[in-house]
């Protein structure tokens, strides 16, 4: 076991994988989605969602730490038995694949509205899916490297976005509790969509070299929360709550207000540059999907799984659905996905605890030894 999962991923790479799995297209409409329910209370609802995600991370960490030398693919068989494990991994893989498809699909309307109005979906999405797949099929090492590489750009963009270059009217953001605490709690639900995606933690856990894995994951979740909160703060503070609600993509409207003599139309530039982040998130989620599918069918050749994944994701991005229906499907689907991906690690951990299963030595025991 030790040799099989040579610890090839650094702590920093784990941070990049976790962060980039989370931050993608959600940021464009997050402020509006949450403010619709919670008003200016979005500024509280989003950090609260971060806390909820931290709870999910604790579950994932407890489960993974119980089997430090094994991946999900291996210990799920021990815990659930061959049939159930296959079902579980298949659902896990398909849900991740659905998320991987939904990220670019959700980005496409934005691209259509802002820059490419006539380009058919397939012409834009197929190359996107192919470049992501091209990374994923090269395995965990290359995936980690590419995500890390892109992360520098993504992180720079995030930090830039968090700089308040346009003056913020504090009076717009101050009525945080206008709609009461109940609406803030309800605001967590739409915010959850923007936070899903760090299941990669579960998959790469045995590959990571660092010992402070939990804190790295927590830092990534914290970073994502901070980013979302600050951008929401800037957007509502600049556009005002009412216009934020009117605007289809408040982030773009916010960026449209920024202008320099040489650097005009920050919104268009940002939209193009952000594709890197979309690619990054798609890579991470697709990687989770392919790992789970490989775990489901351990006897099938990996290359076959890879091509299956390509075919599925191409079909997924190209399949035409009416946009309203798509929003509905994605709404329900994301809820199911979030519940499943967030809940099952806790359940599995509970099962492992009850059955007394434990794989390999834990880090602490190894240190003591």
């Amino acid at each position: 076991m030790q040799d099989k999962h040579r610890q090839v991923i650094t702590g920093w790479q784990l941070f990049c994988l976790t962060l980039n799995g989370v931050v993608a297209t959600g940021v464009f409409s997050l402020a509006r989605d949450v403010a619709e329910v919670a008003g200016a209370g979005a500024l509280v609802a989003i950090p609260l969602t971060g806390v909820v995600m931290l709870v999910k991370l604790v579950g994932i960490h407890l489960l993974a730490n119980r089997f430090p030398e094994q991946t999900l693919n291996e210990y799920s068989y021990q815990l659930l038995g061959p049939v159930l494990a296959k079902v579980y991994l298949l659902i896990y893989g398909l849900l991740s694949l659905a998320v991987a498809i939904s990220i670019p699909r959700a980005h496409f309307p934005l691209v259509t509205a802002w820059a490419l109005g006539l380009t058919p979906k397939i012409a834009f999405m197929a190359p996107l899916a192919i470049v992501c797949w091209n990374v994923v099929k090269r395995g965990v090492v290359v995936t980690a490297r590419v995500v890390e590489m892109f992360n520098y750009g993504g992180l720079a963009l995030m930090l830039l976005l968090m700089v308040p270059v346009i003056p913020v009217d504090l009076d717009f953001v101050r009525p945080v509790f206008e709609q009461g605490p109940a609406s803030i709690m309800r605001g967590i639900v739409p915010a959850l969509f923007a936070f899903s995606g760090f299941d990669v933690y579960l998959i790469v856990f045995p590959y990571v070299r660092s010992k402070r894995k939990f804190w790295i994951g927590a830092a990534a979740v914290g970073m994502a929360t901070l980013f979302y909160t600050v951008t929401t703060f800037l957007i509502i503070g600049n556009l005002g709550l009412e216009f934020t609600l009117l605007s289809t993509w408040p982030l773009q409207s916010y960026l449209n207000r920024f202008s320099l003599a040489v650097f005009e139309r920050a919104d268009v530039v940002f939209l193009i540059a952000w594709i890197f982040q979309v690619i990054n998130a798609t890579i991470v989620v697709m990687f989770v999907a392919v790992s789970c599918l490989q775990g489901t069918f351990p006897r099938v050749r990996p290359s076959f799984i890879h091509y299956l994944l390509l075919a599925l994701s191409l079909a997924g991005v190209a399949y035409p659905i009416y946009s309203v229906l798509e929003a509905q499907i994605m709404g329900t689907y994301s809820l199911v996905a979030i519940a499943f991906l967030g809940g099952t690690p806790w359940l599995l951990w509970l099962l492992a605890l009850l059955r007394g299963k434990r794989g390999g030595e834990s880090d602490a025991q190894k240190d003591a030894a």
Partner: protein, 491 residues
């Protein structure tokens, strides 16, 4: 193996000649001198440069066999022939050896091995009744003097560069590393050319695993028959690269002994190849190619600024013409307000689309580059001026291309020249075309897809076990500083 790789390999390695040097098997030296000479003459029939000189050592008939032009005939006369002729006692091999006035000699029983030595420019002495060949080192062959390297020039710092003779090159390195830790192992590569290759390293700093890997890869070439000749270090480079089909260089080439020494001190391995003024350094990552020797001979601040400029050049040379196409055909919004009308006006006067305009201009510039490289310096300069100024100016005036594009392409080309390594610069320059194409079809988004594919390719490469994008991905904070800034105190 993917199909495109197979196709490419079929193109690249279509011929696989079966080679036999004739000197593979062991062949003992006979006691009978004539028999030996007959064998040699038969083996080297119709060789104009083979000299076989018979002489009498004491009572014993002997023969000196060597290749004219590779040997120092004066030294043969004074150091070998004259003393041997005056030799009184010739009862044993020891007597004869004591007569030879050249210090560097050896004896061997295998005639084939001795002939191999002779082919390197040594003199072979065979005596009647002695089944041993004496090989004396009197190598002297035409070579040029040590001069400043043409492609790897530095403004300050040492001016000596490698030449085609491996011994001199080794001496240039040894002069800078006066330590017993410096090792240089010899290997012969190329079944026909039997080119000597030196593996240089510092024993206490080199990664032993890495050394073994390099040796193993070279060893593999020694036995395989698909490397019949090594005429230049490039042959070796192609052979030891992890990804020979990748356009990006994975082995650092340099003509400067100081660069080699700097890399050896960092624990890398240098390869000197006979007949080539270009030495190799492995392993080499993407960012190593963006450093020059000059960086270490100027103030660190200047050197750091220049490094940033080179990183910028990588981006500019690949992407700027694509960006021009993307901006003028898709995203006019990002052009500053004060410029947008001017751009529209100049574009309006050009009958071609941005894409065709850019492609035509890029091809023209590449043609000019290719044309000037092989021309004599003075003619080349004229062509350069004619091409850049006259053609550019005339094209703008004739309304074939817009003036803005001329500026863009010129900047891209100049940025390409700012990249120190020629091979890397070529690889990056070629990326312009897919980027322009992607920009035409899918605007800035297309360019990002192409960049993703490129970065994926780079990230998936390794140079002898080292990630190609090290120390950026995976991040090595300690090594990072030598990429973006030139450290003040060198390790």
């Amino acid at each position: 193996m993917p199909i495109w790789k197979q196709v490419l390999q079929n193109f690249v390695g279509a011929q696989r000649p079966q080679v036999d040097t004739g000197l593979e098997a062991k062949y003992s030296v006979q006691k009978n001198l004539n028999k030996n000479l007959e064998y040699i003459e038969q083996l080297f029939a119709d060789s104009a440069d083979l000299v076989c000189r018979r002489l009498q050592v004491g009572q014993r008939p002997a023969a000196l066999i060597y290749l004219k032009g590779l040997t120092n005939s004066d030294l043969i006369q004074r150091g070998i022939a004259d003393p041997l002729l005056n030799c009184k006692r010739s009862t044993s091999l020891q007597d004869i050896l004591s007569c030879i006035a050249v210090s560097d000699y050896s004896t061997m029983d295998d005639l084939h091995q001795a002939l191999q030595q002779m082919l390197d420019g040594r003199v072979l002495l065979l005596c009647q009744g002695i089944a041993t060949a004496v090989v004396v080192d009197v190598v002297k062959f035409p070579k040029r003097a040590v001069a400043e390297p043409a492609t790897d020039a530095a403004i300050s710092g040492p001016k000596d560069g490698f030449i085609e003779a491996i011994e001199d090159n080794l001496a240039l390195v040894r002069r800078r590393l006066r330590t017993p830790h410096f090792k240089s192992k010899t290997m012969r590569l190329g079944v026909l050319s039997r080119t000597p290759v030196l593996i240089c390293y510092l024993e206490d700093r080199v990664d032993k695993q890495l050394l073994a890997e390099v040796e193993q890869r070279l060893q593999r070439l020694q036995t395989e028959e698909d490397l019949p000749k090594v005429l230049d270090s490039y042959y070796v480079m192609e052979a030891i690269s992890d990804h020979p089909l990748s356009p990006f260089p994975q082995v650092l080439q340099t003509e400067r002994p100081d660069v080699i020494v700097a890399h050896l001190v960092e624990g890398r391995i240098g390869l000197l190849v006979d007949g080539s003024p270009v030495a190799l350094v492995v392993p080499a990552a993407f960012f190593d190619f963006l450093q020059t020797a000059d960086d270490y001979y100027v103030h660190p601040i200047f050197a750091s600024v220049v490094r940033w400029l080179r990183l910028l050049a990588v981006f500019v040379t690949t992407s700027v013409s694509g960006l021009y196409v993307a901006v003028t055909t898709f995203h006019y919004e990002v052009i500053p307000s004060r410029l947008v009308n001017t751009v529209a006006q100049t574009r309006g006067q050009v009958p071609l689309s941005s894409f065709s305009e850019a492609i035509i201009m890029e091809i023209t510039i590449d043609l000019l580059r290719e044309a000037t490289i092989r021309l004599p310096t003075k003619v080349g300069q004229v062509i350069g001026v004619v091409g850049a100024l006259v053609v550019g100016q005339a094209a703008v005036q004739a309304g074939v291309v817009g003036p803005l594009l001329v500026i863009v392409v010129a900047i891209a080309t100049i940025a390409g020249f700012a990249i120190p390594n020629n091979e890397q610069a070529t690889a990056l320059r070629m990326l312009r075309f897919p980027l322009i194409l992607a920009a035409t079809v899918l605007s800035g988004f297309g360019m990002i897809f192409v960049w993703t594919a490129i970065l994926t390719h780079l990230a998936s490469m390794d140079s002898l076990g080292e990630p190609y994008l090290r120390p950026i991905a995976p991040l090595k904070p300690k090594k990072l500083k030598d990429i973006f800034i030139r450290p003040f105190r060198q390790v």
